[in-house]
């Protein structure tokens, strides 16, 4: 449907709906349920240079209108992603996929992105700068404009694919970080990653999550996410992908009115595996209700 089409860094998406990294695996669990080719694209599980088991369990805590996860980037490592996951994905997904990349040093990011740059299936690199910088004292790359820019530059140097830098909301000034990434060559910005949170088990008198803290997401974070998308999309010229708490077609429209050109959906997929399918199906009627002829015009108007 023409009116749902949007552009993301030069690649046309049939619609702006993108399952967010970490909530859609490598797609197959969902492909058993519906044809995932109806999606705009999806962002696969955060991939690192080496395989990772991630954090001890419990890794999940329920919250009011949301959840905390402390998965800790469990993934099979970039070589296995290239040799096993991507060929398997090809059988159920024919569109360019968004490759989500994490790292613990600038070299890690560059290495993993260079490897993924060789994969024709990958349309965009979504570089998650929320990981702790092991060479920089453990602070996340994404909490400091200079390190976020350094990662961006290093990645841009090894790939011709569009680089979308994914920002953490756990910062005092997200706009300065977004601008630093844009200046360093980012082709797009996506936000927000999860908000640092925790829960305590009253009976056991200790944190629910084994690693104590984790990332909070789900409908409860929507207003915070929307605010950050609004601020960033007014400050940068590159496309912004909005996410955080999106669960309905109206939420997608609201994110686009805040300035997003495409929208990722995270936790909603876990509680309703058909969430993205329903959102896509609901979009035309929701657009009619608000007098929207085509989605592109919203973002253009907002910015």
């Amino acid at each position: 449907m023409e009116r749902l089409k949007v552009d993301l860094c030069g690649i046309t998406l049939d619609n702006p709906v993108i399952p967010a990294s970490g909530t859609f695996g490598y797609g197959y669990e969902f492909a058993e349920l519906y044809d995932i080719n109806i999606l705009g694209t999806f962002s696969f599980k955060g991939t690192t240079r080496e395989p990772r088991f991630g954090n001890p369990t419990p890794r999940i805590a329920e919250c009011t209108a949301g959840m905390i996860n402390a998965v800790g980037l469990q993934n099979p490592g970039v070589e296995k992603v290239i040799s096993e996951e991507l060929p398997r994905l090809k059988k159920c997904f024919g569109k360019p996929v968004m490759a989500n990349v994490s790292g613990f040093s600038v070299e890690d990011y560059a290495y993993t992105c260079a490897r993924l740059d060789t994969c024709p299936q990958v349309g965009w690199l979504e570089v998650n700068v929320s990981c702790p910088n092991v060479h920089g004292g453990g602070m996340s790359f994404g909490t400091d404009p200079a390190s976020a820019a350094e990662v961006t530059r290093a990645v841009k140097a090894v790939t011709a694919k569009p680089v979308i830098v994914k920002l953490s909301p756990n910062v005092t000034d997200v706009v300065s970080i977004a601008k630093a990434c844009e200046d360093a060559g980012a082709d797009g910005i996506s936000l927000i990653n999860t908000l640092l949170g925790m829960r305590i088990d009253l009976k056991k008198r200790r944190p629910v999550i084994a690693s104590v803290m984790g990332g909070f997401s789900g409908p409860a974070v929507f207003p915070v996410a929307l605010r950050m998308v609004y601020q960033v999309s007014r400050a940068v010229g590159v496309p912004v992908v909005g996410m955080g708490g999106v669960s309905t077609a109206e939420d997608v429209i609201e994110m686009m009115m805040a300035g997003a050109c495409a929208v990722e959906v995270g936790a909603a997929n876990l509680v309703d595996p058909f969430a993205c399918k329903k959102i896509i199906e609901d979009l035309p009627a929701a657009m009619d209700r608000y007098g929207i002829k085509n989605l592109k015009e919203i973002t253009e108007g907002a910015r």
């Binding site: 369990t57 890794r59 919250c63 998965v71």
Partner: protein
């Protein structure tokens, strides 16, 4: 995995803090040891509950009230509808049972063994069951297991019913294989006490319940597994206990 709506037909308090709920809906492809994931109004994550029995469009679940979700389930009236994901998890492998399998259940771990016992009996096997509880008023399903034709031993921690002690104090001799489900300390005790090979059903806090989030991963001898998708049942030989 399937997603469908089930309607409560019956919800009965069968022991202290324990409810048996029957629901009508699409029970196709539910195997012993699999679970369903239940959406509850006002709670963000679904609640995983084992299939206790499934036949002719009627799903039976048995649950203990331990928090907001299970309290909500306990107060559900006939006619109420729930959104379920079904057919989750690998389930028990019945082909390894031998002639005389032993079923070892503890508290809220007893329910999945019921459908397993039923299928084993249908296959001509002669299962024993050892069911462990804290106190006499928490005991359930003793009669249900005997009605299937199983030899049943009940244990209670305080000795108020059956054998005093833990399930491991009452393991019979002469079993060929075992299947177990219960709280982790019990599973560890069974792991030490058991003399044959067997299968263990595990619990973990879940984000999705269908393999997408990596929230429930564990390490095993054969690599990383997701309790919700590659489990909840693991073979004794592949278990690596945490710490």
């Amino acid at each position: 995995m399937k997603n469908s709506i089930f309607t409560v037909t019956e919800n009965q308090n069968i022991a202290r803090g324990t409810f048996r709920m029957r629901l009508s809906g699409d029970t196709g492809e539910m195997r012993p040891g699999q679970f369903v994931n239940i959406k509850l109004d006002g709670l963000y994550l679904r609640r995983p509950i084992s299939v206790c029995d499934a036949e002719d469009g009627i799903l039976t679940i048995v649950f203990k009230t331990v928090g907001r979700g299970t309290e909500k389930l306990a107060s559900a009236e006939p006619g109420e509808k729930f959104d379920l994901l079904t057919g989750l998890g690998n389930g028990y492998d019945l082909s390894k049972s031998g002639e005389k399998p032993l079923l070892i259940g503890g508290g809220a771990g007893v329910p999945p063994l019921y459908m397993l016992a039923k299928k084993l009996v249908e296959a001509g096997k002669r299962p024993f069951a050892v069911l462990g509880f804290n106190t006499a008023d928490e005991v359930f399903f003793e009669k249900e297991f005997s009605d299937l034709g199983c030899a049943v031993t009940v244990t209670t921690t305080d000795g108020s019913r059956g054998v005093k002690g833990f399930v491991t104090d009452a393991l019979p001799a002469g079993y060929d294989y075992f299947y177990t489900c219960g709280p982790e300390p019990m599973l560890r005790a069974v792991y030490k006490a058991a003399r044959t090979s067997g299968q263990f059903s595990f619990e973990e806090r879940m984000g999705c319940g269908f393999g997408a989030c990596m929230g429930c991963s564990c390490r095993t001898v054969t690599g990383y597994k997701r309790i919700c998708k590659d489990g909840p049942v693991l073979e004794k030989e592949e278990i690596l206990w945490k710490d």
